[in-house]
Assembly symmetry: C2
Homo-oligomer: 301 residues x 2
Amino acid sequence: MSDHPLTNANGLTEAQFLATYDADAYEHPSVTVDMLIFTVMDLEQNNYRKLPQKSLQLLLIKRGEHPYLGQWALPGGFVAVDESIEDAARRELYSETNIEDLYMEQLFTWGAVHRDPRTRVISCSYMALVDRTTLDVRAGDDAADAAWFDVSYTIEAEHTTTTEQGMETEKRVRIKLQNEQETLSAVVRIVESVQGRVKKLSREIVESEGIAFDHSIMIEYAIERLRGKAEYTDIVFNLMPPLFTLSELQRVYEIILGKELLAAAFRRKMADAVTETDEYTKDAGHRPSKLYRYNPEWSHK
Amino acid sequence: MSDHPLTNANGLTEAQFLATYDADAYEHPSVTVDMLIFTVMDLEQNNYRKLPQKSLQLLLIKRGEHPYLGQWALPGGFVAVDESIEDAARRELYSETNIEDLYMEQLFTWGAVHRDPRTRVISCSYMALVDRTTLDVRAGDDAADAAWFDVSYTIEAEHTTTTEQGMETEKRVRIKLQNEQETLSAVVRIVESVQGRVKKLSREIVESEGIAFDHSIMIEYAIERLRGKAEYTDIVFNLMPPLFTLSELQRVYEIILGKELLAAAFRRKMADAVTETDEYTKDAGHRPSKLYRYNPEWSHK
DNA sequence: ATAATAGTGTCTGTGAGACATTATCAC
DNA sequence: GTGATAATGTCTCACAGACACTATTAT
C-alpha cells in the first residue's frame, strides 16, 4: 500500500508488521446476512368484474434445527471469510429465488449480544424486492420449507409522554404473517425518546408467536423502510412486472403505504415515472386499461 | 426458549443441541465500528460586523501503526464479543468526545473482502453529531493525534449513458479535508446503473491522499446521508447549541445542503420546529437577533 | 449616517387533495 | 342497459421561491 519504507514504533515496515499480525488474538463474532424478500401477489377474486386485491408477501423458512425449531425465520446464512457481505446476500437471494438480478438493499446491522442463543452473531439485514410474475411459484429448489406469507402491519397503540427535559413516544406495532397453513404474529415496541437534544430509538419484542430470533424486529424495520422509500424513491417499481396498468401500480402503493390514494392525483404524480405503451389489458369485465412500463430516465422530481 | 421438549433430526433437545454447538467450526471475520463525528464550527472573521462563516468539521485520528501509518482514519475499534455493536460505537464516541449522550445513528456496514490488509474486517459505520459549544477543544484525552478537519464535498463530474436496456450514471465526488496543518483529499466514483428494472449502486476510490482504508467512501456516504436527512428530519438540530438564532440555523443548513436558502422561506418552514425565547444576541455590529431553542414536540410537518 | 443583519409582507407558480364527469369495455 | 374500471377536468388550498420592504443595532 505504502510506497515509502515507513516503519512503526517497533521499527517494523508494513510488510513485516502484516506478516506478524495475529487476527485471532481475541474472540470474533459470527456474521450472518438475513434476507427480507418481498413480493406483491394478487389475491383470488370471486367476482370476475372486480379487480383482484393486492397483497404484500414475505418469504420465510421453517426452521428444521434448534434454536427456534419449527418456527419461521428469514432466509439467511453465514458470511464466509472470502466473500463480501453483499455477495453473501446475493448468494442467499439467488438460492431462494433462482434469479440473479434482483433489487437488493442493505437495511441495518443487528448487533445485540444475545440475539442468537447459539453464540455471538451479528446479522446484516437486506431487503430484496421481486416481481411476482417473474418468480417461480415454488421458491427455491432446496428450500422445501420456504413459504410466502401475507404481511400486515398495524399500529396498535401510540402515545407520547412529555417530561420536563423532553418527551418519549411509545408505539406498538403488530406484525401479522399469514398464509393458508399458518398464522404468525408479533408485537414490536418502539420507543423514541428525546432528552434535551438527544434522540434515541429502540425496538424490542413484546410478543412473538412462531417467528424465530429477533426477526420480527427486522420485519418491522423493513416495512417502515419500504414505506418511507416508497414515498420518495422509485423503489416500488421493483415489485411490478415489466408491463402494468396505473391502477395496478396505485394498488401496490396503497398496500405498502397502508392508505388509499386518489386516482387523479396519483396519475399526475406518476406521469413522468412511466412510459405508455400501445398495449391494453383485455377480457376484464370493464373498460380496458393502457399498459405502462417504468421509465428509468425519471429523475425523481 | 422453547417450552416443549422439541427434538431435532438427531433427537437432541434445544439444551443438548446448544451444549454441543461449535461456533468455531469455521473462520470468523473481525467486526469493527467506525465513527463519523461531525460538528459545525465558526470560522474566524476579520470584519466584526459580519457574521462568521460556518464550517462542517469531521474528527479524524492520525494512524500510529501499520497499515496506512501516518495517514488519517476515522476513529473506531473492534467490537468485543460481550458488547453490542451500538455499545461499541458509544464507547468509541465517548472516548473521543468525553460526552455520554450524543446523537448517533448507524449508517452502513462495509464488507468488501480486502478492505483491510491485515485480515478480514467488516466495519459498521456510525454517524454522530456534536454541538461544538458543548465540546472540549481538545477532543478526547488519550487521542493525542485527533484533529478536526473542515469537510468539503464537490461533485466534479456527472454523466449519464443511456443504453438499450437501461442507463448508467457515473458521478465523481471529491472529498477535501483541511485544517491548518494538513490537507487530505480523495475522489470517490459512484456508479448507479439501471438494467431493466434492476438498480445497482457501487462506490469505489479513484484517488486518495492521506485518508486510510476505505474511509473516504464512508465519508462520502455519510455526507450524502446527512444531506438527505437534513431535508426531511430534524437531524440538523443536533449540531446546534441549546440557544441559537434562525440565521445561524439557516447557515448550518446551507453548509450541509451545499446551497443557499432564502431567509423568508426558511423562517416560515422552521417556525414550528423551534420555540422562541426572550433572549437576544448582543454586541454584534448590527440588529440583534432573537434566540430560539429546538421544539421537541415538532412533528415533521 | 452607515453597514450590516433581523424580520415581515406579498405575489406567483406548482402541486396535491377533493370530487365531478366522461369513456369504454364484457356481459 | 348495467356494473365495473379507466381516464380526464377543474376548483381550492397549502406552500415554496422570489423579491421588495421595514426594523434595529454598534460604531
